[in-house]
Amino acid sequence: MKLHIKNGRLIDPANNIDRVTDLFVVDGKVAAIGDAPAGFTADTTIDAANRVVAPGLVDLSARLREPGYEYKATLESEMRAAVQGGVTSLVCPPDTDPVLDEPGLVEMLKHRARNLDLANVHPLGALTMGLKGQALTEMAELTEAGCIGFAQAEVPILDTNVLLRALQYAKTFGYTVWLRPQDAHIGRGGVAHSGPLASRLGLSGVPVMAETIALHTIFELVRSTGARVHLCRLSSAAGLELVRAAKKEGLPVTCDVGVHHLHMTDADIGFFDSNARLTPPLRSGRDRDAISAALLDGTIDAVCSDHTPVDDDEKLLPFAEASPGATGLELLLSLTLKWAEEQRGQDALPRALAMITSNAARTAGLPAGQLGVGAQADIVVFDPATRWKVEGAALASQGKHTPFLGFEVSGQVQATVVGGRIAFQR
């Protein structure tokens, strides 16, 4: 298929491109930028005047709820949500039911995703069987089946010795281990950031200490094993400070933050709004500001949506009983653009886009997130100026809950191309 995307502002952070130009796609790959390749006649043309043309977004955490949680969402609806949000590659955590700890399950998931022919799905395999923190999984088999790394999702490993062995094993084969820095006991049962607001509201708190103590442990184990670790969903100023120091020391660590945490704080819980029930919890203004600074100075490698569809029955409950999580695939772009707009005095758009394209891809070890000649033609065309209202009807995902419900945000995807094929067009 020959695709011509014309007149758009092409922003490709990996290749340092930011100019109005044309893009040409042949047989699923980027064939040329600027001038058409010899003998090119387009089968399809997209006029991207006043639009941005960027690499398709790479989302480092999106729960698709299959297998096992089909009542919350299905692969069909969530993959549709992905391309509607401009996401062309996504990484899904292993906390499905059953847990992704068997190669057969991973193969089936990849097979189902391939058949839908929408975004590219890259599963994380479970680090331990059943995520129980005892027996190691067959990491080599799982990698062969398509896993790009190994994780424990939200389940902390209680036995530090097991975590040590898992990291040693992963290091043997060069696998990356994705870990949530979260102490197993401190803050257990907590539902909000430990601080004056949680005290006032009478909510159980998760102290920052739960994150920093876990980070210290992880860094010690990394020092000892040399294993590569990607830290998932940093939430605090103190935690980011530790990551900064670890990187300076030369430890092979990377980290991401959830896109909701770029903007919201614990104050957004308001009158016990369970849409603001997230994990890690939304923390203080100081922590949010530290996240912003860490995005600017490179301490944070990528921003992800942490897409977690939760159905109504699980949110219309008292705050502490509600299931944590927010829908995110269709908000990743707009909320990242919102952050960029708020960085006064500099055009932060290319840097912001890098967080959800090239940086994210590099962190996950994926050949995606960039549009050099010969690259896979995963492309998003969006209008940064169009405003839209975040409401159930506007979302393709079955997850309709986010603290941004009712807000108007900027940035609307006009078209999403995956492997040279138009997967979504408005």
């Binding site: 949680a198 009478g202 909510l203 009158f271 369970s274 029955d313």
Partner: protein, 325 residues
């Protein structure tokens, strides 16, 4: 970046539609409730202890967390207003069969309830109910929070203020100490908000580190770990109940040790002002947080609190149920 939140306890005109918490209640509304309570105190002395204000209205006591004493005082208050009272002990009924909280509410609203008095183990549950009633157009059903998790117990806070006003009159020159497990106490939180709103210049929290929440200073409270220091020259002492669970949660070693450092004994009481009053939301653990000599002594006003509690609850319910001038 704040989400737009509408305070669900006030209606568009700033009038009280539900009583969910004392926090954010204007001082004028608090005083109005206390003044109204005053006019209800005399009714208990009459032959016919009733006024017809809520005749024909149905008050549903929804207790998702057990409490015979609070439920009883609300029941008495409702009946003194001539309302019909239905008691629902939700433990034993539909929610254990898996019915959601909001489905239970919808079912009861369909039975033409006028008022829900709700006690729940989760902070924020009454807000969920009030928001649901507002959103589903059932604006004439009022919600009274009878205690939600650790968050608030507004009628207790109000009756504590009524008690203090009765004995001390002027809030603006008082030192008030709250002693005990403030971390887990919704009564403490409501008292703190009421005291600071009414202009009490010094509110003190006294307890061991493990029982004090972070951020108390943000609420306008001076923290003391040493009870003898904390009680010096106070005018009002509010003692909180120590629950047995605290020992099993690694928060305290034993009740005996707690009493040694934080029990209100006659010797400790003597450190406060000679006319200081001793309050307790009840039920008391004698010998754990309070010595019997103090509980039965002349400075204790614990039983009057109970009497005032009925009048205060009558005031809250009749203000909510009344129309708007």
């Amino acid at each position: 970046m704040p989400i737009l939140h509408n305070n669900p306890q006030l209606n568009k005109n700033g009038e009280l539609q539900h009583l969910l918490t004392i926090e954010g209640l204007p001082k004028a509304i608090i005083n109005h409730i206390l003044d109204t309570a005053q006019s209800f105190v005399g009714i208990s002395d009459r032959e016919v202890k009733k006024v017809p204000l809520m005749r024909g209205k149905s008050v549903f006591n929804l207790f998702f967390e057990n409490s015979t004493r609070t439920r009883t005082t609300f029941e008495i208050a409702s009946k003194r207003l001539s309302a019909d009272v239905i008691n629902l002990n939700i433990q034993a009924s539909s929610t254990t069969k898996g019915e959601s909280l909001l489905d239970t509410i919808d079912n009861l609203a369909a039975m033409h309830a006028d008022m829900f008095v709700v006690r729940h183990a989760q902070s924020g549950a009454p807000y969920l109910i009030a928001k649901h009633l507002n959103d589903s157009g059932q604006k004439d059903i009022h919600v009274v929070n009878a205690g939600d998790g650790r968050h608030a117990h507004p009628t207790q806070g109000l009756l504590d203020m009524y008690t203090i006003r009765h004995y001390k009159q002027d809030f603006t020159n008082l030192r008030v100490a709250i002693v005990g497990d403030i971390l887990h106490s919704r009564v403490a939180r409501s008292d703190i908000h009421a005291l600071t709103t009414l202009g009490v210049p010094e509110v003190r929290a006294i307890g061991p580190q493990t029982l004090l929440p972070g951020g108390l200073e943000h609420m306008g409270v001076r923290v003391f770990n040493d009870m003898d220091e904390g009680l010096k020259d106070v005018d009002v002492i509010i003692m909180l109940r120590l629950q047995n669970e605290r020992m099993s949660g690694a928060l305290l070693p034993s009740a005996q040790e707690y009493f040694k450092s934080y029990g209100l004994t006659p010797e400790r009481l003597a450190l406060a002002k000679p006319d200081a009053i001793v309050m307790h939301p009840g039920p008391m653990n004698r010998g754990v947080e309070i010595d019997s000599a103090v509980a039965d002594g002349k400075q204790a006003v614990i039983l009057p609190q109970v009497t005032f509690g009925i009048a205060v609850r009558m005031a809250v319910m009749s203000i909510l149920a009344g129309g708007r001038a």
